[in-house]
């Protein structure tokens, strides 16, 4: 390296490099050891085929295992179909989402659920609802003049 780099400056550079390497490490640990992953590629579906292709031809909730449900939700301007889902507390829900028009979003505050819904693509996210109550979800990607009214809810009922 060049001659005009100061001793303190060099020390600072080492500190920065070590700090960034530690952050890399934490990132890889969280992804591979703890299994915290963001959305991946779970498949494609053409918007024109959504109405005729399972499971999106019948949006709604179905049980796929003990305390495990699959919620199929189709997003379009400016509604989620279905807008409301009811599950007993302690249920695990796997959401399968797609859009038949433009890009939408799907977020439930205070859970890890945060997904983009892109026409042509299938999004998937799983969550266990341990507290009873109503969880509002809404579209968080601009989708036209009614964007702010696009929302729905998950009612988690006591057993």
């Amino acid at each position: 390296m060049a001659t005009d780099i100061d001793r303190y400056e060099l020390t600072w550079i080492y500190i920065c490099v070590v700090a960034l390497l530690v952050l890399f490490g934490v990132l890889l640990y969280s992804a591979y050891a703890l299994g915290i992953h963001v959305e991946t590629d779970v498949g494609q579906i053409h918007p024109a085929q959504v109405a005729t292709t399972p499971p999106f031809d019948q949006p709604g909730l179905r049980m796929i295992g003990p305390d495990h449900y699959e919620a199929v939700i189709v997003a379009r301007a400016w509604v989620f179909d279905p807008p409301e889902i009811r599950v007993p507390v302690g249920s695990t829900v796997t959401f399968k989402l797609t859009s038949i028009d433009v890009i939408h979003g799907f977020k439930i505050p205070r859970t890890g659920i945060n997904r983009m819904i892109v026409p042509g693509q299938i999004s998937e996210v799983t969550h266990r609802f341990d507290e009873p109550g109503t969880y509002t979800f809404f579209c968080h990607e601009y989708c036209g003049s009614g964007h702010h009214i696009m929302n729905g809810g998950i009612v988690v009922e006591p057993r």
């Binding site: 028009d101 977020k107 036209g144």
Partner: protein
Amino acid sequence: MNLAEIYRRDAWHMRWSLYISFVMLAIGGFYGTLQALDKMGVDLYRYLPDPLYRYYLGLTVHGVTLGWMFTVFFIIAFLNLVTIHGLRRPLASPGLAKATFGLAVLGAVAALIPTFTNEASVLWTFYAPLQAHPAFYIGLTAIVVATWTAGINAYLTWRSWKREHPNVRTPLMSFAALTTWAMWALASVGVAASMLFQLIPWSSGLLAQVNPLLNRSLFWFTGHPVVYFWLLPAYISWYTMLPAQVGGRLFSESLARLVFLAFIPFSIPTGLHHMFPDPGIPHSTKLLHAILTFAVVFPSLVTAFTVVASVEEGARRNGGTGRFRWILRLPWLTNPAVSGQLLGMVLFATGGITGIINASYGMNLVVHNTMWIPGHLHTQVAGAVTLTWMAASFWLIPLLTGKKLWSVRLSTLQVWTWFFGMAIMARGMHWMGMAGVPRRVHLTYAPYALFDEWRLAGWLVGAGGVLLFLSGALFLYVIAMTVWFSRSPAQVEVPEAKPLHPVERMPLVLDRITPWVTVTVVLIAIAWLPSIYRIATTHPYVQGWRLW
């Protein structure tokens, strides 16, 4: 040629670029204030005439005028000046400079007409398949092309300089400008490809369908590095000017060069961190981008040392003492051209931390598309970058008009109010984001809005927004008074920092851009090509929609 002589030929287009950039700041800032008030449940839009009262039209105006126009016009002017001053010669091609200016103006007009007539309410990110009027895409493309011609002119100017000085290192200022242009030339390929091969033919009716995920990927190919295109001109001011403005010297020129060069390879293969929650892209690609995003933090961490050390050296030479007391020696209240930059750096430090959170893969799920994100963006672009540019304007305008700054006092008040306005607003935005409030939403009318619960956060956003409105108005007032009514001649020159240690030898690679560009092309190919190719060839293409 004496020093003032070298700017004379190019002064008119630099001056007008700056004026246009300030007009864009005014338009974008106006809608920004209304948006901030919306976050506390106050709707002022209803007092505007049709179609201007539409929230998403306003949001598009805000993003397009500020993100694509205020920035581009300022950057072209500033990098031109830096190139001219660094090399001590006018731009190589006055014709190309004129063409650049004309193209940028035409592009801005073409994009703003459909935006203001509600033909293009697609926001500044224009995600397909929302389909705007073709003039919107063509206008924005013309603006991008204008940045290319400006970059070419800087390169031609450097080439003629180099012919006369074959064995001299390129002066730091113009070297930094050239690295900025090189980075941006590579980075802008994404959005240019999206415009030319998809959005323009599609909106003109030549293509029936487009690929939403492909265009989103190409947007973020450019959309993340564009923030460095905004930031690097501020870095040029911090590294090559600020040390001189506080009476100090640049701590280390080699390191400054390394920082600017590092932005070329690290800026671009990072954009997927904007798309962590997107379907259709595998984990592995996203993790690679997450890790490379941490790499781009490195040059900014180095900056935190080098720039602060240079400022400290200046403060100590002016009699500053003590471990921290030297900070008080800085002209916080007497030189707005300095304090604006220092206050911008304070905001920048907070945004650096929030930026690392955004890039942190799993943690991104908490903040993605919430108010946290505009909070982060505003500390960086509307805070650090804009404050630095405002500070620079306090000597740029006098330099280019020959008129003395109207009022140092009002300018000082202006940078401080902007700082507090941005700090307060961003605090509220981050807070709302943590509470799960989505961004880009007409919140006043959202049925799920819980203003009672968010009250204080929303009030902070609104109050910060109003303070920013007043500060922005004060900035425009000071500039307008300087241009129209200032009678005293300006006594300013371009501040230019000398290095603390004379640079005797420096690795050749710190005076070359081509090797860095080569590395970048390889990195881009690894990080982006497989993903973009797969999406383009195997993922669905869909029709367009006009939903506003």
